[in-house]
């Protein structure tokens, strides 16, 4: 934990001032990156061929290398590990300057955050030197081996087991919801190392190469046709003890910070993403495009719906800034990140519904050229933003219990050995 907080507390005088950094970033970006194509702007649209996807991944690795060579990779990572040792303010400037340019989208989440940030906080010196520079150079793409098929929200109830065998560990189990594990290199894996203590006290974190004989990667087909998500099956995977992150059975300490970084998503100062500024192409602009295509902006009820989408988007931006500031200043605990998560989830869901409403019958059938194209398919996936990265129900628990200090939900798995915790419906009842 110390690595990150010390980093944030650097003395400002030592750092390049923001305006000169902006000038430097602007001229480097102009000379080295090309403007983003319409397709790149729409990253996240699924259904491209496997070859196209692999080509995009290769391009992202190249771009990351370019950023590294240009001195713009890992703005908030320490210089000792190949980063720039600069501040979140510098990262923000870079994000602003990246607007409209191609950038290594697949390198950011989860590779740089939460995976690299977890290494930065909990890794040994040797682990950090081995992996963080490689990540910043685009040589390593990381995935989170966190969720399991047996339970999404109950992360600490992991069943994947690591058994010690001398100086190494043997891992067995299954992980799921890893985006693009089939083209990634390393997994950060939460596993159970002790079944005889309560669940939070028997976990440990490991890192392991994804492409090895004991790891089988299956791609999951989603209802919109996407095959980005994967499930991994680990069978007798050998991990040297030197690839353990944090102390044995203390994985939940790591996991707590891991999930904090995960909730920060693209607001994290450790990732580079073009600023979703007010003028950029946004969800509300897409709703407007649909309304216009059908000549419906003269209809006050449609203006109302478009206005609502825009309102939610603007408020969401301002809320994220407020929550980030409040956590930084200590007005709110780290746990308040769940406030942003809840608002973003409900907002995305509502905007998806607004788009479908504005699309009218084009929500039932459409042509590829239509602005309403895929509005209905997106609607089928509407709840993803309320599930992925922790369900909104979990966020509501966190907000009420950790921010408002209301009594915790009663659990049946707290003070008993994990081995004795009920994990399914009793047979015969």
């Amino acid at each position: 934990m110390s690595a990150v907080s010390t980093e944030g507390a650097q003395i400002p005088e030592q750092l390049e001032d923001l305006e000169s950094f902006r000038e430097r970033a602007r001229s480097w970006i102009g000379a080295n990156l090309r403007p983003a194509t319409a397709d790149e702007m729409r990253w996240g649209r699924f259904g491209g061929s496997e070859e196209a996807e692999l080509a995009s991944v290769a391009r992202d690795r190249e771009l990351q290398r370019k950023l590294f060579d240009g001195g713009f990779a890992g703005i908030c990572f320490p210089r000792a590990y190949g980063g720039q040792g600069l501040s979140p303010g510098h990262q923000k400037v870079l994000n602003q300057e990246l607007v409209g340019y191609e950038y290594p989208a697949r390198m950011q989440v989860p590779t740089l955050s939460p995976c690299a940030t977890v290494l930065l906080e909990f890794g040994t010196e040797e682990q950090k030197l081995r992996h963080i520079p490689a990540i910043l150079k685009g040589e390593e793409l990381w995935m989170q081996f966190l969720s399991e098929p047996s339970g999404g929200s109950d992360v600490a109830g992991a069943l994947t087991t690591a058994i010690r065998d001398g100086e190494q560990w043997v891992l067995n189990g299954s992980k799921v919801w890893t985006t693009g594990a089939w083209w990634s290199d390393w997994g950060l894996c939460l596993a159970r190392t002790n079944w005889d203590v309560p669940k939070h006290r028997g976990l440990s974190v490991f890192m392991l190469p994804i492409h090895q004989s004991g790891v089988e990667v299956h791609r999951i087909e989603m209802i919109n046709g996407s095959r980005e998500f994967c499930q991994e099956f680990m069978t007798d995977v050998i991990v040297p003890d030197s690839d353990r992150v944090g102390e044995v059975d203390d994985g939940w300490t790591v996991g707590t910070r891991w999930m904090f970084h995960e909730r920060m998503l693209y607001s994290s100062p450790y990732v580079s993403v073009p600023d979703g500024g007010r003028q950029a192409g946004t969800a509300a602009t897409r709703v407007l495009g649909i309304a216009r295509e059908h000549g419906r902006m003269d209809d006050p009820s449609v203006r109302d719906l478009v206005g609502e989408a825009r309102m939610l988007e603007i408020v969401s931006d301002e809320l994220m800034k407020r929550v980030t500031e409040s956590i930084k200043s200590g007005r709110l605990s780290d746990q308040a990140a769940a406030i942003g998560r809840l608002f973003k989830g409900t907002t995305a869901s509502r905007i998806s519904t607004l788009a479908l409403e504005v699309a009218g019958s084009a929500g039932a059938a459409w042509t590829d050229e239509s602005a309403a194209s895929e509005t209905a398919v997106s609607f089928l996936m509407r709840q993803v933003g309320s599930i992925a990265g922790g369900t909104l129900e979990m966020a509501r628990n966190v907000i009420s219990e950790r921010v408002l200090a209301m009594p915790r939900e009663r659990t049946l798995d707290r003070d008993v050995p994990f081995r004795d915790v009920p994990r399914s419906r009793p047979t015969g009842s």
């Binding site: 602009t285 203006r303 609502e308 929550v323 200043s329």
Partner: protein
């Protein structure tokens, strides 16, 4: 409310808070329900001494700010007004004082408003769905060396208490504003009913009210931008006050949820309620965030000020209503009694929500602003 106050701002906010706790406790607010004016003249004058009426007025006219951002400072007062459902013509007096000061008009009236010895109200035009376009319900005609004011405006805050009325009217071609003494011949005021215990409203009719040309504020026929500025400031003050009312209702309800037991457990232990509290906190925080962002943008004259102001008014009005009403729901029967204090905030919130454009009207404006920008781009 703002996250990072300067020490001067924090000192001022605390002073105002302490003053309101002492001078406007819930029972005083209840007592004022029967009072014609809805506030005591001495209370208002003392508030003015604290600075409540000076922030939108230039130093040349006896005004001044704490932080350099007068509207932001004023929003601190408005927020505390909301938190205490405080009495007094805060919105109307400040907006008129600021408007007069900006045009260096009627300095004697400004002096009275700043001192808290005078009250003024704005007879505003109606909203149109097109931002920047105003629909005054009053005609201001020029006749020789005089202006003639005709028409009705409703509702006008503190109309019956105001010594002066800033009237926005159309003059055929453009928008003109005049300052009308409430005592002028032809001015009549019909009191209106409202939900708030201490706010007062009236319908003001101008029946061929004749005034010397000196009554005109700013350039005749060219007051559109002044009106926009007054409107945005009105939104900022109403939003900050509404957020204060929400915060008070929410805090009160969180306390209640720990104190109230049912089936042997505090309300705060029920997940069905905890989840609603999580939503409420999120909406309260979001309301603070957008209210503050809009006030700053308006103060700085930023190009997205109108969009942010409408986003704030629409969001706070829509989601704040759900927060405050859910606070009533969480209280159960006691929440709908006059005896409990909760309704003081529900009343204030409801008035603020409905003035200067409803959530629906502001959503339409946001839609129009986005549409206009994307055409220009």
């Amino acid at each position: 409310m703002l996250l990072a106050l300067t020490s001067d701002q924090e000192f001022f906010r605390e002073t105002t808070e302490r003053f309101l706790v002492e001078q406007a406790p819930p029972n005083e607010v209840r007592r004022l329900q029967k009072d014609t004016a809805g506030f005591d003249a001495d209370y208002w004058r003392r508030g003015a001494e604290l600075g409540w009426t000076s922030f939108l007025v230039g130093e040349a006219h006896g005004g001044g700010t704490i932080s350099g951002a007068g509207l932001v400072d004023l929003c601190l007062v408005a927020y505390e007004f909301g938190r205490h459902a405080a009495p007094g013509p805060l919105v109307s007096t400040n907006v008129v004082a600021g408007a007069l000061s900006a045009r260096d008009a009627h300095p004697d009236v400004i002096a009275d408003l700043v001192a808290g010895t005078g009250i003024a109200s704005w007879c505003a035009p109606e909203l149109s769905s097109v931002p920047g376009v105003w629909v005054p319900t009053v005609e201001i005609r020029r006749d020789g060396g005089e202006v003639v004011v005709t028409g009705t405006v409703s509702p006008v805050e503190s109309a019956g208490q105001a010594g002066h009325l800033l009237v926005t009217g159309h003059d055929g071609g453009g928008i003109t504003q005049v300052l009308v003494p409430a005592s002028a011949a032809g001015v009549s005021i019909e009191p209106l009913r409202t939900t708030d215990l201490t706010r007062r409203f009236g319908a003001v009719t101008f029946d061929d009210v004749r005034l010397p040309e000196e009554a005109i504020v700013g350039a005749p026929g060219e007051a559109s931008t002044d009106v926009e500025a007054q409107f945005l400031r009105t939104l900022a003050i109403l939003n900050a006050e509404a957020v204060g009312a929400m915060q008070a209702a929410f805090d009160m309800t969180v306390e209640w949820s720990f104190d109230r037991y049912a089936f042997g457990r505090p309300l705060a232990s029920y997940q069905a309620l905890k989840h609603r509290f999580a939503d409420m906190l999120t909406w309260v925080e979001a309301s603070h965030a957008i209210s503050d962002a809009a006030s700053y943008a308006i103060e700085e004259g930023s190009p997205d000020a109108a969009e942010l102001a409408s986003a704030a008014k629409a969001f706070i009005g829509q989601y704040g209503a759900e927060v405050v009403q859910d606070c009533v729901q969480m209280h159960g029967g006691i929440g709908v009694t006059f005896e409990h204090d909760l309704h003081l905030f529900l009343r204030r919130f409801t008035v603020d929500r409905s003035l200067a454009g409803t959530p629906g009207e502001h959503r339409q404006r946001i839609g129009a602003i986005l549409d206009g920008r994307e055409v220009a781009a």
